[in-house]
């Protein structure tokens, strides 16, 4: 308990009214994005809040560095594979979304902070958009970042970096575009699912369940079906979807024996489905918040 103070002692400086600039709605949204981006990594929070995001970030960068080092040690730049990396880290990306989407939106609802945001000069839909941007930006750190490490490794390890860069730089388009769409895809699903949960734990469970149970159900379905249903079922499986999209993006022919190879769907279908799912989730998510506005 603090020691009792004389009533006047607390305020001895007097009140100064604020005459400085007051920024508009765009600034408020920007502030919310950067604040939420930082809190997605537990900045300014307890060590416990930092632990899972740091672990995931450390893992994906470690994987990228290991791949680059292996390529360097063996002299085989072919070991650096962007598509494989995106496919391999898809589950970690989903895990990141499962743990941080609830931090970004469910905590505000659970603790009542949302009502303070809504009393500020921004709309409820602005809040939703800001949270989406923040989560996508945070996810780019775990998707785009490692890919840039791979790209840099690929260029620097070569005997003539400049020539390699000139040959490789167009890969930056699929690298940026691919990780961006993957991040938006996973983030929008995670946020929509989390927006239905009253507590962070439930929200995380729902997102994890989605990324684990959907594949399980699809595998079951694939075991008992054949033909078109079996071929198209890969589009409902989030991890296969990301894999198929990555193959298409980096112009890789899927191996015959793999699920995606056997499905033999045109690559653009994966892209279309991811784009469509993301759009639907974003619209539904923002709408859920817009209802809060009078």
């Amino acid at each position: 308990m603090a020691e009792p103070r004389a009533p006047g002692a607390i305020y001895d400086l007097g009140y100064q009214s604020y005459t400085g600039p007051r920024r508009g709605r765009a600034y408020v949204i920007r502030s919310l994005v950067s604040y939420s981006f930082a809190s997605a990594f537990g900045a300014g929070r307890s060590d416990r809040a930092k632990s899972l995001p740091s672990l995931i970030v450390a893992t994906v960068y470690m994987l990228a560095i290991v791949q680059v080092s292996m390529a360097s040690a063996t002299g085989m730049v072919g070991l650096i594979r962007y598509a494989w990396f995106l496919q391999f880290s898809a589950f970690l990306i989903a895990l990141f979304a499962a743990s941080q989407a609830p931090e970004l939106i469910v905590a505000d609802k659970q603790q009542g902070v949302l009502s303070l945001y809504l009393s500020r000069p921004l709309k409820a839909s602005d809040y939703a958009v800001a949270k989406l941007l923040a989560l996508v930006a945070a996810m780019l750190v775990v998707t785009l970042g490692p890919q840039l490490v791979l790209f840099t490794g690929r260029v620097v390890l070569d005997a003539s970096p400049w020539t390699t860069f000139r040959a490789e730089w167009t890969k930056l388009f699929p690298i940026v575009g691919g990780t961006l769409l993957t991040s938006v895809f996973v983030a929008s699903i995670a946020l929509l699912l989390a927006s239905f949960a009253a507590r962070r734990g439930y929200a995380s469970a729902a997102v994890i369940a989605f990324f684990l149970l959907t594949p399980a159900v699809i595998e079951l379905l694939r075991a008992v079906t054949s033909g078109a249903v079996k071929r198209y079922s890969v589009l409902v499986h989030p991890i296969y979807l990301i894999s198929g999209f990555a193959n298409w993006l980096f112009d890789i022919e899927a191996k015959r024996r793999t699920v995606i190879g056997r499905a033999d769907l045109p690559g653009a279908v994966y892209f279309d489905v991811m784009l469509a799912v993301s759009t639907v989730c974003i619209v539904a998510f923002v709408r859920r918040y817009r209802r809060l506005e009078a």
Partner: protein
């Protein structure tokens, strides 16, 4: 220009009318907004913040229509909700700074004003602690700090003394009074306890079941509700008649007289009349109708 203006404001929920044709104009100052729980206070505040659309009617704050210009209103208003609204995992200073930015203040200004507001509410030393470790009283005070950080023209405080111990209530009321008097910020404070807030308020708005019961100065309200109870060991009816003859409003109930306490001169009249006729007074007490009693009075009379 009125601070808050409402015109025939009605909000109906299925089966419930939360606000029923509320019309009022409030001048700047400290306004007490009283009513029993569920009387429509929070509904009114949510409409003022543009978070709830009224079924009909309109409202404005400092000339801004709350429907047409909700964001403009929110720039001018600071809001302290009744319920929990604090993130528990960040420090007090980070939270208040962030809330300042959320009202449009640049980072540096938000940080500076945030620190200043935490000092005003007496949380200077605790500012780097996580909010989750704050006591109930400290949480109420940081709620006040975040509502002040952007230097609003009007503060809407929803039941700020709820859940506080008597000492905490006293401190909170002192802070409110200080904010209204010395900071020059208009304050509307809701409470279901009239006695608690009336001494810091200039104006009083009382609602019950969504209907306006009273809007005016605290002094006039006190005049309307304060009673001097007098018990005499003599013929109470005759004494009451003599007091009435001197212009006092008197209700006689058995041996107890209830006299409307318009001003302090009432005491003199009672003393003089009692002395003139040698009426022994056995009890003299200032009492007031409880708020609920005041509200329920018309309903009770219709039900007999």
């Amino acid at each position: 220009m009125p601070l808050i203006s409402a015109s025939d404001l009605t909000k109906c929920y299925p089966g419930v009318t939360a606000l029923d044709g509320l019309t009022l104009d409030v001048a700047p100052g400290i306004i007490g907004f009283v009513g029993a729980n569920g009387a429509g206070k929070s509904t009114f505040i949510r409409i003022l913040l543009g978070l709830l659309a009224p079924t009909s009617g309109s409202a404005s704050i400092l000339g801004y229509d709350v429907r047409a210009n909700a964001l403009g209103v929110r720039r001018l208003v600071g809001y302290m909700p009744e319920h929990d609204c604090l993130p528990l995992e960040i420090s007090g200073t980070d939270f208040v700074t962030h809330m300042g930015q959320m009202s449009g203040l640049p980072f540096g200004a938000a940080r500076e004003r945030g620190a200043e507001m935490l000092r005003h509410v007496g949380l200077h030393e605790e500012r780097y602690r996580l909010i989750g470790s704050y006591s109930t009283g400290m949480k109420q005070r940081i709620k006040l700090a975040q509502s002040l950080v952007h230097d609003p023209r009007l503060l809407l405080l929803d039941e700020p003394t709820n859940g506080l111990d008597p000492e905490g209530r006293e401190e909170m009321l002192m802070l409110i009074e200080r904010t209204g008097r010395e900071f020059g910020i208009a304050v509307m404070v809701t409470s279901h306890l009239l006695g608690e807030i009336e001494r810091v308020c200039d104006w009083l708005v009382a609602i019950d079941a969504g209907r306006l019961q009273y809007a005016g100065s605290v002094a006039a309200f006190t005049e309307r509700t304060e009673r001097l109870l007098v018990e005499v060991d003599d013929d109470a009816t005759a004494f009451a008649a003599r007091l009435r003859a001197r212009g006092l409003g008197v209700d006689a109930r058995d041996a107890v007289l209830e006299i409307v306490l318009r001003d302090d001169a009432v005491y003199d009249v009672v003393r003089d009349v009692a002395a003139e006729h040698s009426v022994p007074i056995s009890r003299l007490e200032v009492a007031r109708h409880r708020l609920e009693e005041l509200f329920r009075a018309p309903a009770e009379s219709t039900h007999g």
